[in-house]
Symmetry: C2
Subunit: 204 residues, 2 copies
């Protein structure tokens, strides 16, 4: 294995170890030594890859966000068509992604309002970008033509909030199936309420 490959592998091991540890603690409570230990290297070697824990945290946000963006984008394609069945479809796509990348989603949810400023900032910046992206999609929906761009972004923001709340609830809940189903139905109904509200907006 080449030198660069070996380095990349260790770097990834550090990121993986961090994601593992953050499953039941906050990122800010992790120690550099713990992470290094988890990756199977000596503490001082950590600095060959990241300048600090904060630096690693920001990198981890970009990593995890790539997964979230992919999930939300896929769901988005259907959501903009409006109506109840497509809202359900979008949600189930998202939640399927959550199940296969549980740890990364938990990291994002936990640290969105967490105690490490740079990490928090990175997450919210990315989420805002995504809201704007969704707003642009909404603008292309015929039924929403003539809307203010600002208002569309506000609606998009609310969709994202509902989605993220559903993810948080899913990850927090016990493993029981009934709970999960109820949770999905709730989020779905909330999305529909907003969609119905959109239809009424300045049309009354």
């Amino acid at each position: 294995m080449s030198r660069a490959e070996k380095k990349e592998q260790t770097r990834q091991a550090l990121l993986d170890a961090t994601i593992d540890l953050v499953d039941d603690r906050s990122f800010g409570s992790l120690s550099l030594r713990e992470v290094a230990r988890g990756a199977g290297i000596v503490p001082t070697a950590f600095y060959r890859h990241f300048a600090s824990m904060e630096d690693l945290g920001v990198t981890l946000v970009e990593d995890s966000m790539r997964v979230l963006r992919r999930a939300l984008r896929e769901g988005r394609r259907d959501l903009v068509k409006g109506g109840m069945p497509t809202a359900r479809e979008s949600l189930s796509i998202l939640l399927r992604h959550v199940r296969t990348d549980e740890a990364k989603f938990r990291f994002l949810i936990r640290e969105q309002h967490g105690g490490v400023t740079e990490v928090r900032r990175a997450i919210n910046t990315e989420l805002r970008l995504f809201s704007r992206e969704l707003a642009i999609d909404l603008a292309r929906v015929p039924a929403l033509a003539g809307w203010e761009a600002d208002d569309l972004e506000i609606a998009a923001d609310l969709f994202v909030t509902i989605m993220m709340t559903a993810v948080a609830d899913l990850l927090d809940g016990d493993g029981r199936v009934g709970t999960e189903q109820a949770l999905v139905q709730r989020a779905e109904k909330q999305l529909v309420m907003v969609i119905l509200g959109l239809g009424q907006w300045r049309t009354e």
Copy 2:
């Protein structure tokens, strides 16, 4: 000062010190010694008041929740009347409370999805209670008569989510006034969207 009073005072000092420290870090990253130092007592004296940091955390949730409940209840009285101006009113009441009890709200926002299980659980239990309370209020609104109780709770849940998101954004934002105003308007419009959606629910 009586013995019991003196003890209560120290206990409060521990809670205050914790709230202070949590302003820019996560609760899980606090050490017992730090908190004791902040309260002006020696580490071992901590145990005269709380069995552990986790224990203190749960107490702090109850403390802070009392403030949040009062704020949300006050705003609720107007919200259930429906319509745009009352949504604005409810929001401004809440945000005024946030400004006077900033640290406690920040604690709740930060730890709602934070790394300390018991604390997280305590916050979400209380929030769920509040949602249910709001749902009962909604049931008394004539326009919403005939709704399923479950659906009302789902709507109430969404109201609470929007409110909490607004609080989080307010506390995260820089101090600039323009930002704050935009944020309030956004939350207000989101509330209205849901209210409009409620009007359409199974009425189409």
